[in-house]
């Protein structure tokens, strides 16, 4: 558990959390638009189910309300670093396809990638404030898997964007928890009270 914060550190934390929340909300809005465009351009069914994907961080959390601050930050950072690599890969694939009609899609993808990178940096700043510092990045990109066919890649892209949209909401909630003053928020490692019931 971190030592008691100085007032300036508390202020810096609240500022980072506020800006992070705004960034996450903007990101979520842009990802929602990107999802619509992606589904349309890729000829997919918006309601298509996508199975759990290797290397794509799932936003779903059990006992979310009981997470410590450090865990929240670390989970978020790991996720957004992974999304940064996944979106970079998606962008490369889109460029390879090089269909002129998809230029707008590529631009939207690039814009979201920028936001993801910015958010990851934001999280690193928050971790530095915890005197913990961000962990090093483990690898340059997502784990290499078998080369997927075109349709599988499209579906995977759909899954990536869906999880990113969920993460953007989760991150908003996480940062609100972190911004709360007192024990359980704002400088402690105590778990936040909110969340679903314990193990059923």
């Amino acid at each position: 558990m971190a030592a008691a914060e100085t007032p300036s550190a508390a202020l810096r934390r609240r500022d980072l959390c506020s800006r992070g929340i705004r960034l996450a909300r903007k990101m979520r809005s842009d990802v929602a638009d990107l999802l619509d465009a992606y589904v349309e351009r890729q000829g997919l069914d918006a309601s298509a189910s996508v199975a759990a994907l290797d290397g794509v961080p799932a936003a779903a959390a059990e006992r979310w309300g009981e997470q410590t601050e450090s865990q929240r930050l670390l989970d978020n950072l790991a996720a957004y670093r992974a999304f940064r690599a996944l979106l970079t890969e998606m962008l490369e694939e889109q460029r390879e396809q090089a269909a002129p009609a998809d230029a707008a899609l590529r631009e939207a993808l690039a814009a979201v990638l920028l936001q993801v990178s910015a958010f990851a940096y934001h999280l690193e700043e928050l971790l530095r404030l915890e005197s913990r510092g961000p962990p090093g990045e483990e690898g340059a990109g997502p784990p290499a898997g078998p080369r997927l066919g075109l349709f599988e890649r499209k579906l995977r892209g759909l899954g990536v964007l869906r999880e990113l949209a969920q993460w953007a909401v989760r991150s908003t909630r996480d940062l609100r928890q972190l911004a709360k003053p007192g024990p359980g928020g704002g400088g402690g490692g105590a778990a936040a009270p909110a969340g679903p019931a314990e193990g059923q």
Partner: protein, 361 residues
């Protein structure tokens, strides 16, 4: 002459009914038939050509309804529900008894799921679009991915159950299937939804609107988060306020991203207002229903006493006319005139009347 509401009374074994006929233990046999069906009842083990008497709720049934010893009811309707008994010819021994319940198989039930206490869980409630007139049983299943979740039934109302979220922020949809079954058939419906889409808070509570002293165009409105919303600090709500004077149909709207109060600054002076508030999670879901409406009228200045001013005018004026309006008399009520032209209209009317009054001096 047939059947009123069926009796559910049980009679003891070997009791004698009012008609003097023997009765058979507790009748436990219930027969369910569809509306419009043709029903044939056998008199227990009696032969077809045996002499029998049938009764419906204790009233003898005309022989025209019989086919031998069988009772034939054609195209049954709801009114024909009741207790049917068959007695042997002359001995009046009870040979058969049944309780006929006429009804319908269930239509597709109406199912709704909603989370008004996010992130704790959600509830599902259901009803049948039309009654079946016979007992129904309901079974609900909730699947999330590969996991079957428990839906804890409420004691009241009976047609509702609650599910606790085991995960948050999941992209996996929930699938809820409700099956309704009765003796004449079954039906079911399925809802599939995301965690976020069913989030809808209850309306804000304790909405209060008050005038602001010395401010004829302001109303202060305050409210509280719905008590069912478990953690407004971590999951803050935003609000939508609507208000209008009672005399107008068009609402004004204000969206508020934080706080549980707002000051209306453009109210029409002296007009009674109706005000409502709705709530929504800041990030997900849909707006609540509107709160209970509250009424309020902006602060008004006390009207000055007219008699005193009229007396002052009479003692100072040289005119013989009593028509000239005293300077402080309001020619028109500004509050009754809507819009920025109110002042201009009042002054114009004043000038006209003043000019008219001069003619009579």
């Amino acid at each position: 002459s047939w059947y009123p509401v069926p009796s559910t009374e049980c009679v003891p074994k070997d009791a004698i009914s009012k008609s003097g006929r023997g009765v058979l233990m507790w009748h436990s046999h219930i027969q369910y038939e569809r509306v419009g069906a043709d029903v044939t009842m056998k008199c227990g083990s009696m032969d077809w050509d045996a002499a029998v008497t049938w009764t419906a709720n204790g009233t003898d049934i005309d022989d025209s309804r019989l086919n031998g010893s069988y009772l034939v009811l054609r195209n049954v309707d709801l009114m024909q529900s009741g207790q049917y008994s068959c007695y042997e010819g002359s001995s009046w021994h009870l040979k058969y008894q049944t309780y006929l319940r006429v009804g319908t198989p269930p239509k597709e039930p109406v199912l709704m799921c909603r989370s008004n206490n996010y992130p704790k869980g959600f509830y599902c409630s259901w009803h049948l679009p039309s009654p079946t007139y016979i007992p129904n049983s309901f079974n609900i299943s909730v699947i999330h991915g590969t996991r079957e979740m428990v839906c804890e039934k409420d004691i009241f109302p009976k047609n509702r159950c609650h599910i606790r979220y085991l995960q948050l922020f999941s992209t996996v949809k929930y699938k809820v299937t409700l099956t309704v079954t009765n003796a004449l058939g079954k039906n079911s419906t399925t809802l599939t939804f995301d965690e976020f889409t069913i989030v809808k808070p209850d309306p804000p509570e304790n909405v209060v609107a008050k005038p602001v002293p010395n401010n004829p165009r302001r109303l202060e409105v305050a409210w509280q988060n719905p008590s069912s919303w478990p953690d407004p600090e971590s999951f803050p709500l935003k609000f939508f306020l609507r208000y209008r004077p009672l005399i107008l149909d068009q609402w004004q709207h204000v969206e508020l991203s934080d706080g549980t109060s707002h000051t209306i600054t453009d109210a029409y002076a002296g007009k009674e207002y109706i005000i409502q508030v709705a709530a929504k999670d800041n990030d997900i879901g849909t707006w609540s229903d509107w709160s209970v409406a509250v009424h309020a009228t902006p602060w008004m200045e006390e009207p000055k006493h007219l008699t005193t001013e009229a007396q002052v005018t009479e003692t100072t004026s040289t005119s013989t006319s009593s028509f000239m309006p005293p300077p402080t008399t309001k020619i028109c009520d500004k509050g009754a005139v809507v819009g920025s032209g109110a002042v201009a209209v009042c002054w114009t009317a004043g000038l006209v009347l003043a000019a008219y009054g001069v003619l009579f001096i």
